[in-house]
Amino acid sequence: MENIRNQIKKFFLRILNIPFAFLMHAIDLIMWPIQKIIGVRNMPYIFLLPNLIFFGLFVIIPLGANFFFSLSSGDELLFAERELPTTKQYDQLFDCESYLNPNTCTEDFFWRGVYNTIFFVVFQVGLMIFFSVLTAVILNKKIIGRGFFRSVFFFPVLLSPVVVGLIWQWILLKNGAFNAIIESYGGDKVSFLTDPSWAMASVIFVSIWAHMGFYTLIVLAGLQAIPPNLYEAAEMDGTSRERIFFRITLPLLMPNLLVVFILASIKGVQTFDEIYVLTGGGPGTSTSLIVQYIFTTGFASSGSVQNFGLAAAASMVLGVVLLFLTLMQLYFSRNKESKHQEI
């Protein structure tokens, strides 16, 4: 009986194999002459070629085009119709009497975006790390429904930023769910999204809610990698909980926290969609970040001149910031790898 079953299995596997075999033979027909010409040692480049073509088409060429746009002016989209080359866009972006006061800058919206982005990233990343560690430490303990809570904290990460924005808009609007609760307890309505002093706090809170699950997972992985015997030894020595946390847990979590810090910073600088849905960058420009400036200047001018050059110049500046953060991440992660190898 077992034998018959194996025979049938083999038969179906052979049938299933036919199209693959046919495909492989067809590929072989193409690859064989290429290998003959360029040699076996150079074949990896051929296998990398499809990926490189896509990377070039969708990353390198747009990056180059963006750079050239930033060195051109006019409201035309096609290069042939634009004034080129000019540093006008960069001059305009950096034309400020005082960089500390956006009102003195020609492109005050850009500088407001810069300061809002810095404020947003500092508080969002700082609080995100704090709450991620706190949540991960709790979720690492043997609590009832641990699996359930881990899923619950991770769930918002799966949501689209637009959905996140719409959900929280519904909750935080003046006539929203949260204000209804406040009113039912006799309180006054709060303009969470339309009062400049509340709006930034609200978007930071929503952003932390939406992304914390991902970073909690990284911290949790770090916590689980800490050898339990260290805790056992500390307990035997009668070390207090606080001391264990600050002397064992936190130092050993540092590599993970560094990754969280850099990833969250990159993500924070790039934030756009959930804030755009939630507040539209308002009130005034109080929640308008750099990416929104780029989007509005280049693509959403509502009938004003679509200044592709200025938007491209601003995105180049943003690119430099992101490049710096990415290099930091690479440096630290390599550092971490080499330390592991030394161990």
């Binding site: 002016s73 006019g74 409201d75 035309e76 989209l77 096609l78 004034e83 009102n103 020609t106 005050d108 919206f109 407001r112 003046k174 303009s191 999204l193 339309t194 009062d195 400049p196 507040t279 539209g280 960058g281 308002g282 009130p283 005034g284 420009t285 109080s286 929640t287 308008s288 929104q292 509005t296 693509f299 959403a300 001018s301 509502s302 009938g303 004003s304 001149v305 679509q306 200044n307 200025l310």
Partner: protein
């Protein structure tokens, strides 16, 4: 069967296949793509029905109606056009701003004089400077900006509605009075739009252009109106929740507050009639009132949307002829409850709503009172640049990011900067 026979058979098969394909291509219907934004089903259903009817009667043309959000018309369409893409026809509100992309359909319409007779003054809004003959499309609906009041709240408060000639200050005062007496949270709400601000600003004496006809945004008239709006926001006459809820020049309308009867006086325009008729229903009585006055005029802004062609060919001409015909326009306008852009159109409005009927009469009656500056501004190719500068800077001043003095300075700088980018210099 020899090899020659096989070759012959294959050749015959290939020739037959080619002929079939060629004939299929020759007789395939010509596609005409329309990018359309509508104010909900109220506008989308009638236009879709008209397109279906056209397609059924013209098998050689296949009209494809792409219903898109208004933002797509304002932000996506210009980029598509700049990239050499875009639809054959689109429903547009930035009438002059896109004029470099419009196609002249004069050779392809059945009777060019019909367009001149029926849409004469509006055709110049689409044309480039110096062009007096091209036909690019037609006005789908005309609009006039102006205020609405919640009549029920006035009645409950025992306050009389003001008549023609009442000033903005007087309207603000009675709106506050009604709000206080009825416990309504928002005395006054305006669409967040530079276009909406411009009619009242012209009433206060704003000229928008210098003696050479070039844009010159900030003057005493504009300062007076924007200062008034700023003061109303600080005093609570207008809620910061509406204009403060977005940034830049983003449009935002207070319809949700209005529909919930939380607003006494709403500054918007004639395009809201059909929407109010549907959404407010019997909840309360709403009336359109004449444009309040300033020292210079009592005017709203004209406007509207037009179906404009970006490709010129016989199929596009035929579609335009069909949609601009008296019969189709009359039917469309009658269903959507709008003011016609056609100069000689009898419309049988399909509504029993007395509020809607009253509003239609009020706005239609306001057309002759529109100030010439308002018409010139609406016809100007760069009017959006001015509208956007007003609303983005005023919005910033209202939430405390700058003073009104700084906002006025910035408005002029924004206009100058944008015009330099557009025209060089």
């Amino acid at each position: 069967m020899n090899i020659k026979f096989i070759f012959k058979a294959i050749s015959v098969a290939l020739i037959s296949l080619s002929l079939t394909l060629i004939s299929a291509v020759s007789f395939a219907a010509t596609d005409v793509r329309i990018m359309w934004y509508g104010d909900g089903d109220k506008e989308n259903v009638p236009i879709a029905a008209q397109i279906d009817e056209f397609n059924a009667a013209n098998p050689d043309i296949n009209v494809i109606l792409d219903i898109v959000p208004y933002d797509a018309i304002m932000n996506t369409l210009p980029i598509q056009l700049a990239a050499g893409e875009g639809p054959d026809i689109a429903r547009v509100t930035d009438l002059g701003g896109l004029n470099k992309y419009y196609a002249d359909i004069t050779p392809y319409v059945a009777d060019p004089s019909y367009y001149e007779k029926s849409f004469g003054p509006f055709l110049n809004w689409y044309r480039k400077s110096g062009d007096t003959t091209s036909i690019h499309g037609f006005h789908s609906t005309m609009t006039v900006t102006g205020p609405y009041v919640n009549k029920t709240l006035f009645e409950q408060a025992g306050v009389d509605l003001l008549g023609p000639g009442a000033t903005w200050e007087e309207w603000a005062a009675v709106s506050i009075e009604v709000a206080e007496k009825t416990g309504t949270p928002i005395p006054m709400a305006w669409d967040r739009s530079g276009h909406r601000v411009s009619g009242p600003a012209i009433s206060m004496g704003a000229k928008y252009f210098d003696s050479n006809g070039d844009p010159k945004l900030v003057d005493d008239g504009l300062k007076a109106m924007t200062q008034m709006l700023y003061d109303w926001h600080q005093a609570g006459t207008m809620s910061k929740d509406l204009w403060g809820s977005v940034s830049g020049s983003k449009y935002h309308a207070p319809n949700d507050w209005w529909n919930a009867a939380e607003v006494v006086f709403m500054m918007s325009g004639s395009w809201q009639i059909g929407r109010f008729a549907n959404e407010v229903g019997d909840d309360f009585d709403w009336w359109a009132v004449p444009a309040p006055c300033g020292p210079a005029a009592c005017t709203g802004m004209p406007g509207g949307n037009a179906l404009l062609a970006f490709n010129a060919n016989p199929a596009v001409g035929k579609v335009m002829d069909y949609l601009s015909s008296k019969e189709q326009l009359s039917s469309f306008i009658g269903q959507v409850l709008a003011i016609p852009g056609h100069l000689d159109l009898q419309v049988d409005y399909q509504t029993d709503d007395p509020n809607a009927k009253h509003a239609l009469n009020t706005f239609a009656g306001a057309v002759p009172t529109i100030d010439q500056v308002a018409f010139d501004l609406q016809a100007h190719v760069d009017n959006r640049i001015m509208f956007n500068a007003i609303i983005s800077r005023l919005g910033q001043a209202i939430v405390g990011e700058m003073t009104m003095e700084e906002a006025w300075e910035r408005m002029d700088e924004d206009v100058e900067k944008q015009l330099k980018e557009k025209y060089g210099g």
